[in-house]
Symmetry: C2
Subunit: 334 residues, 2 copies
DNA sequence: CTGTTAGCGCATTCAC
DNA sequence: GTGAATGCGCTAACAG
């Protein structure tokens, strides 16, 4: 069995077998209404018998469009992204498009390489939580339509998950429990989300007249969260709001290892709501609609390529606090 | 700013600007060693100035190869797959290939559609935990090179994660703790892994002279695991081995909700080791090298397409038990 | 070493 | 309604 998959027939073979011209076969697939009912069905049946299927590559070269789009995320393994990918995937299906996936490993250079590799092979790319600097993003945007998720670059279409209201609610929630010194556990410095969350928390804390302290995790990961707790406890804070759920989960486990009960002796709140109630105790968190972000981004990309012009679009998704069991009364006040 | 990304120059423009033929420009990029140093650098500099970049689609049509490969998984959001995707991704990078991602949603028809959509646009496809029946898999394999992961179809190249030794060790582990009636919490019926695990457990139990019972979760998910505990407890078993870690985690949480301490009153062991120590208590599990599976599959696909022949390859990855804290002494024996 | 010629498989003007 | 001709952008013989 040598090269069994090479047996893909071309349009010419179908044309010959059906006794029509290649143009007719082509039209039978792309504009059936231009042909007589009979011709269409005859061509199609012959095509089916031969197992013919239009060559997408050739079609793309001819028409200039193939409907492929690229999605680049910092880390496939981070639970924040799968729902988003799934959302984009669903929309791509609806549009008959295929999705290229790239994982930059939180590395700007790798992300740069990926975009370059995809450009010319896709009709548009979606950059999620891009670690690229503005200049490089603009550079790429000049070569291929780009939609940003969780990155705020003026002039480019972007969908932003605005966690500020959720963060504010989280601070209120903690304040009502009597917490006065709260720590922000920061994520990647290059992350727009991180900057936005930090800023939102600072504002909320100031408004409440509370004292904000901060520690920084090296990376958005379970391990980073676990490693940060010594520093976290050192700040004297009685509660923490973490950059994301995964980091919060790391904190939860490290606290459990130290026999520090949550929320009795320490409260922690996460961000993104990607873990659901799978932690112990179930994590109180700021809910973000990451699946919707993926859907919207793909739709936007469709608009952008269809309109053949890059419009200034800033689509903002809001958030809210999901109260579960990881935040409670401040120890001193018990 | 109208269609700013349309300004991509073609090979002809570069050729003209550099005063050479199109073939020379082509060679400057694909086989520089065929040209004089000087010509190469001159062409490349002109190309760079014009912002030329070879059109991958045209190149693919001409050469018949584009180095794209497709990866189809049942559910991107299931933590089993991201590491695998990441492994494949890494290898694809090394090979200069781009990765198409498809998520079938555990649905055979959708998977079927996806494969068809990708075929003709990729050089090969990797099917992970395919839900397709053998006939359909073979059908597709006749049109495009296919490598299977966790699906055992004779004649097709496949990489299998053999959990039987790990399962056996898990049973031993539980037996040593005094458990005599152990429940297998099954996953998707169409899953090869599920069948394999069930069989391995049955064999191990029989060998030990223990009593095996079983319940079936609708789907491999946290919720399914949580919903199954009533039935699980109803079996009278004192321990459970779950189809995968996610299901096990659901069981853990449901048990916690019922104030049934793990492992004091009930022991649970997972499969895949995709959660690490993120659960409470940390999950004892059968470790599977899912990232390696992705790497191997991609390498295999490379071999297959390079050799232009589909060889019978059956690559088996083994597993072992990772002991953490979710299994312990049987209640009655305490 | 480099230019010339000829397609890759398809969609798309035009004629008929 | 359908066929013949042309080109998408590039690579691959074949010359020279």
């Amino acid at each position: 069995m040598d090269e069994p998959w090479r047996g893909v027939p071309t349009i010419s073979q179908v044309a010959q077998a059906a006794g029509v011209s290649r143009a007719t076969v082509s039209r039978a697939f792309t504009r059936p209404q231009m042909l007589s009912q009979e011709t269409v069905s005859r061509v199609k049946s012959v095509a089916a018998r031969l197992g013919y299927v239009p060559n997408q590559v050739a079609r793309a070269l001819s028409t200039g469009r193939h409907g492929n789009i690229a999605l680049i995320v910092p880390d496939v393994a981070n639970p924040f992204f799968p729902p988003l990918i799934r959302g984009a995937q669903a929309r791509a299906d609806l549009a008959g498009a295929c999705l290229f996936l790239g994982s930059s490993d939180e590395n700007a250079d790798r992300e740069d390489t990926l975009v370059a590799k995809f450009t010319g092979q896709v009709e548009g790319v979606i950059l999620v939580s891009s670690r690229l600097d503005e200049e490089r993003i603009r550079h790429h945007a000049g070569r291929v339509p780009i939609v940003l998720i969780n990155r705020d670059v003026t002039g480019l279409p972007r969908v932003l998950i605005d966690t500020s209201v959720g963060i504010s609610a989280a601070v209120d929630h903690l304040a009502e429990f009597g917490h006065r010194r709260i720590c922000y556990v920061a994520g990647p410095a290059a992350s727009w989300s991180n900057q936005q969350r930090r800023k939102a928390m600072r504002a909320a804390m100031r408004r409440r007249g509370l004292e904000m302290v901060a520690v920084t995790a090296q990376r958005a990961s379970f391990e980073a969260g676990r490693d940060i707790v010594a520093a976290l406890l050192g700040t004297g804070a009685t509660a923490a709001i973490a950059f994301d759920d995964v980091t919060a989960q790391g904190i939860l486990v490290a606290l459990a290892e130290r026999r520090i009960a949550v929320p009795e002796r320490f409260s922690v709140i996460g961000c993104d709501d990607v873990l659901g109630a799978t932690t112990f105790p179930p994590l109180t968190t700021v809910s973000a609609r990451c699946d919707e972000a993926g859907e919207v981004a793909l739709d936007l990309l469709g608009d952008v390529t269809r309109l053949k012009a890059m419009r200034e679009i800033r689509y903002v998704l809001d958030t809210h606090l999901v109260v579960r069991g990881s935040a409670g009364t401040v120890p001193a006040a018990r």
